[in-house]
């Protein structure tokens, strides 16, 4: 309990630093680009156009037939996956990037992974404009349940922070993680039902293992965040009980684990970066 109190007090004292670091990342990301922050919208929009084109012509058979509004279905998957990918990848190297600071000044170290995940969330929220554009363009109705999408988004934020804390810790000691993680996220992308409907995928045989896609994918937490978001925004449904507890438990458990690992090793960071 005392530990949590100390965390909170520290956090309150350094909230402006968090703000400023996010502001810094923002400035540096868009400095000297003509369109600036507009890229947060344009990039997912253009990606969406490319992928819709590819999966409507080249791989038209792969996406399944039950999806009512494929462009919107696709961009929700893209946006949430990009958020997770950005957040974890950038918090992974956050401690290394903060080396010049934490070698000279005392700052609570979890600020840095936290800042990266927050920054990715800010970007993600900006890119929701792209989602709105696609929805308007395809004439998708705006359901009142869309406000419920905040739940999968916030729990995904917590989940990403937990993963980010673990990755940041590991990377301080072994730089290999950075290379491994990009391979892992590529694999994860194909198993997150971003551009297909898993219930129509049937059973695959991969390296001699037969895998029922619609069952297998349920072990992937990202699938649940994306599916819950789609249920609220695209299908106009209230989140199912399964969605609520799986999203919640995965987020809280991962964050606890992340904080535990990070705390255990954080005093050694400064000797290794």
């Amino acid at each position: 309990m005392a530990m949590w109190k100390a965390y909170c007090k520290d956090f309150w004292r350094y909230r402006y630093l968090l703000q400023n670091l996010i502001g810094r990342d923002f400035k540096l990301k868009y400095r000297r680009s003509v369109l600036g922050v507009l890229w947060s919208v344009l990039n997912p929009l253009l990606m969406n156009i490319v992928m819709v084109a590819v999966f409507s012509t080249l791989f038209a058979g792969m996406r399944g037939q039950g999806i009512s509004n494929f462009p919107v279905y696709l961009i929700i998957g893209q946006l949430l996956f990009t958020f997770f990918n950005d957040a974890t990848t950038s918090s992974m190297s956050s401690m290394l990037g903060a080396a010049p600071l934490i070698k000279k000044v005392y700052i609570p170290k979890y600020i840095f992974p936290l800042e990266k995940v927050c920054f990715s969330l800010v970007n993600c929220v900006f890119s929701f404009v792209a989602l709105i554009i696609v929805m308007l363009f395809t004439g998708a109705p705006l359901h009142p349940t869309a406000v419920l999408a905040i739940y999968p988004l916030l729990t995904l934020f917590v989940f990403s922070l937990g993963v980010g804390l673990v990755l940041a810790t590991l990377t301080v000691f072994f730089r290999d993680i950075m290379h491994l993680w990009s391979v892992f996220t590529t694999m994860l992308m194909y198993f997150s039902a971003i551009f297909y409907d898993p219930s129509q995928m049937g059973t695959f045989v991969v390296y001699g293992l037969s895998i029922n896609m619609s069952r297998f994918i349920k072990f992937n937490p990202l699938y649940w965040y994306i599916t819950a978001f789609r249920a609220a925004v695209l299908d106009g449904e209230v989140l199912s009980w399964n969605m609520v507890w799986i999203c919640g438990i995965c987020a809280v458990a991962t964050l606890m684990f992340g904080l535990f690992v990070f705390r255990k090793k954080q005093d050694k960071f400064v000797l290794h970066i």
Binding site: L17, K27, L28, R31, K103, K104, V105, F174, L271
Partner: protein, 250 residues
């Protein structure tokens, strides 16, 4: 009142004979039993007490552990043994440009560095002009810091760190960079802070500066405390060392 208590602090570093920065190397070495470390004590059983209002000097040759001690006091390093207690806020000026992002402009950096030191944006806005005035950099506010000279960076760093009236100011060799006019200005500022109740710890290789400003001095040698006490005594002994060195050379 004791502002800083350092009790029997040791700081041990494991100097790996080879650095393993990849998993494969590490596991190979671990399996073969080749994970060897050379222990290196940067500080060994160091104790000191800084009282409120002290102007405390640290002297010693290169590698004697002065900077390590400052980092232990400011919380950057956690000591391997012993304990450190600090009362109040610390403004560390340990290395130049700590908390600066060199891609950002000076204006942006004032806010970034200020919040690193725990100030609120409102407070920084209030004091902004004072900081700029002191650092004499008004014409260069919107230039990225990477285009600054080291003297300019140190002026900015000093101006930001001393704007608050911290309880403890830690200054490591920061005055060596600026020109003599700015050095005088910094000394004046530190004395102002002192009279306002700030305790200062100063590391300097300029023994004259230590003699001029400090009241107590600790002399570190290879991580041990060689001598501790009133400024004049310790400085005299330290200067004698210098004398011996010159004799040995001659």
């Amino acid at each position: 009142m004791n502002m800083i208590e350092v009790n029997n602090v040791s700081m041990r570093f494991n100097m790996a004979k080879e650095k393993h920065e990849s998993l494969k190397e590490y596991f190979l070495a671990a399996v073969q039993g080749k994970l060897q470390f050379e222990e290196f004590y940067a500080l060994r059983d160091v104790s000191l007490t800084v009282e409120a209002g002290d102007f405390y000097g640290l002297v010693g040759l290169n590698g004697s552990g002065k900077s390590t001690l400052l980092k232990v006091i400011s919380g950057v390093f956690k000591p391997s043994a012993g304990s450190v207690t600090v009362r109040g806020t610390i403004a560390p000026l340990i290395e130049l440009g700590a908390g600066f992002d060199f891609d950002l402009t000076a204006r942006e950096n004032i806010f970034l560095n200020g919040t690193v030191l725990g100030m609120t944006p409102k407070y920084i806005r209030e004091k902004f002009d004072e900081i700029v005035e002191f650092s004499e950099l008004r014409n260069f506010l919107d230039i990225p810091l990477k285009n600054y000279s080291s003297g300019m960076v140190s002026r900015l760093a000093f101006a930001v760190a001393t704007i608050t009236k911290p309880d403890v100011l830690i200054a490591d060799e920061i005055l060596a960079v600026g020109d003599f006019l700015f050095q005088q200005k910094c000394e004046k500022r530190m004395q102002e802070l002192m009279s306002g109740g700030t305790t200062v710890i100063l590391v300097s290789h300029s023994i004259e500066q230590i003699e001029r400003m400090c009241n107590k001095v600790t002399w570190l040698e290879k991580g041990h405390v060689r001598m501790q006490g009133p400024c004049a005594e310790v400085c005299a002994a330290y200067k004698e060392l210098n004398g011996h060195a010159q004799e040995a050379q001659a």
